[in-house]
C-alpha cells in the first residue's frame, strides 16, 4: 500500500483539492490535522481522506510522526510526505516512486535544485539555503542539494527507522540525520515547488537551530 501523509494546519482553502488530486496516485491519504481552527478537517473528510486530529497544535514534525505511526499500523509499503498547502505537484509522485524502486533506495528526497521548475525567491536561494546547509552538516545530516524539502517517499525500512522526535520544523534536519544514522540509502529527485506562502523566515531558522541544540541533550524515545 502506498500511503500519503499530509500534515495540515489551517489549510481549508487548498486541502480539499490536494487530497482529491492525491487519490489518483496513492492508495490512501491521511491528513494529520494539527489542531486547525478552520474547516480543514471537514474539507479533508469531504475529499475522502482519513483524518487524524491533534487536539492541540504540536507542529509539523509531530504531525508527520503521527502519520508515520498510522502507516506502521496500517503496514504501508511506501509513505509519501506531501504538504497540505498545495506547494507540491502530484505529477512528480509516480516518477519519484518509480525511481525509488528502481534504485532500490530506502528514502527519496524531493529537491528544488535539480531542475529549474521551482520559482524560488532569491533571498531563499542565496541566503537561507546556504545557512540551512551549514546547520544540516553541523547536526550530522546527509548531504543534499535541497536543505528543507517536504516532499519525501519512505519505504518500509525507512518508515520503521525514522521516528521523528522534533515536533516543530527541525524535523527536516532530524530526518536527514536519522537517514545517516541508520545507513538508509537515499536518492534525490527533482520536484516542482510553487510558493503560496513564504515558509521559513530567519526567526524560524533560529528556532530550528535552538530545537536541534536542545534535542542533543534529550534522550531519544
Amino acid at each position: 500500500m502506498f500511503l500519503a501523509i499530509v500534515p495540515a494546519y489551517n489549510e481549508e482553502k487548498r486541502i480539499g483539492s490536494v487530497v482529491r488530486s492525491l487519490f489518483e496516485y496513492v492508495d490512501a491519504v491521511v491528513v494529520v490535522d494539527d489542531a486547525s481552527t478552520d474547516k480543514t478537517v471537514d474539507e479533508s473528510r469531504k475529499a475522502g481522506g482519513v483524518v487524524l486530529s491533534h487536539e492541540i497544535n504540536l507542529g509539523q514534525g509531530a504531525a508527520l510522526e503521527t502519520g508515520h505511526e498510522y502507516a506502521r499500523q496500517a503496514k504501508a509499503d511506501h509513505v509519501l510526505h506531501f504538504d497540505g498547502d498545495g506547494q507540491f505537484h502530484v505529477e512528480d509522485i509516480i516518477p519519484a516512486l518509480d525511481k525509488l524502486k528502481k534504485k532500490k533506495a530506502d528514502i527519496l528526497f524531493g529537491s528544488r535544485f535539480l531542475d529549474n521548475r521551482s520559482n524560488m525567491p532569491w533571498f531563499k536561494k542565496y541566503i537561507v539555503s546556504p545557512v540551512g546547509h551549514m546547520v544540516n552538516r553541523a547536526f550530522g545530516a546527509v548531504r543534499l542539494t535541497d536543505v528543507h524539502n517536504g516532499f519525501r517517499i519512505l519505504n518500509k525500512k525507512a518508515l520503521n527507522n525514522i521516528k521523528i522526535s522534533q515536533d516543530r520544523m527541525a524535523h527536516a534536519t532530524e530526518i536527514l540525520a536519522l537517514t545517516k544514522k541508520y545507513n538508509l540509502t537515499y536518492i534525490e529527485f527533482p520536484v516542482k515547488v510553487t510558493y503560496h506562502e513564504y515558509g521559513q523566515s530567519a526567526a524560524g531558522g533560529f528556532k530550528i537551530v535552538r530545537d536541534l541544540l536542545f534535542g542533543k541533550f534529550m534522550k531519544k524515545n
Binding site: 494529520v32 487524524l52 486530529s53 491533534h54 487536539e55 492541540i56 504540536l58 509531530a62 510522526e65 503521527t66 505511526e69 498510522y70 499500523q73 522526535s165 515536533d167 536542545f214 541533550f217 534529550m218 534522550k219 524515545n221
Partner: protein, 107 residues
Amino acid sequence: MLLIFQILFILFALFAIANVVSKKKEGALGPKGILFWILFWVVAAMVVVWPDSAQTIANKLGIGRGVDLVIYSAIAVIFFVLFRLHVKMESLKRDFTQIVRDKALKK
C-alpha cells in the same frame, strides 16, 4: 545588633522553608529536593547573619570579597536549576506529544 535587612531576610528564609515543608506535605517535593532547599535557605540566612563567614571562605578559595563568592555561587545554582527545569519541560513536552498522538490515532 541585627540590621533591618538581616531581620527581613531571616523572616523571608523562614517563610521559604515553611513553603518547602508545605510542598512536601502536598507531595510535590522529593526527599532530595527538601534537603536541598532547606539547606539552601539555612546557608543563605547564615551568610546574611554572619557576613564574615562568606569573607573567610572566599579568601580561602582565592576570591577577593565574600559578596563575590555569594554572587558566583548563586549564578551557578541558578543556571543549574534552569537547566534541570528546561530538560524537565522538554520531557514533559514529549509525554504530552505522545498523549495527543495516541488520542489522534485512537479515533
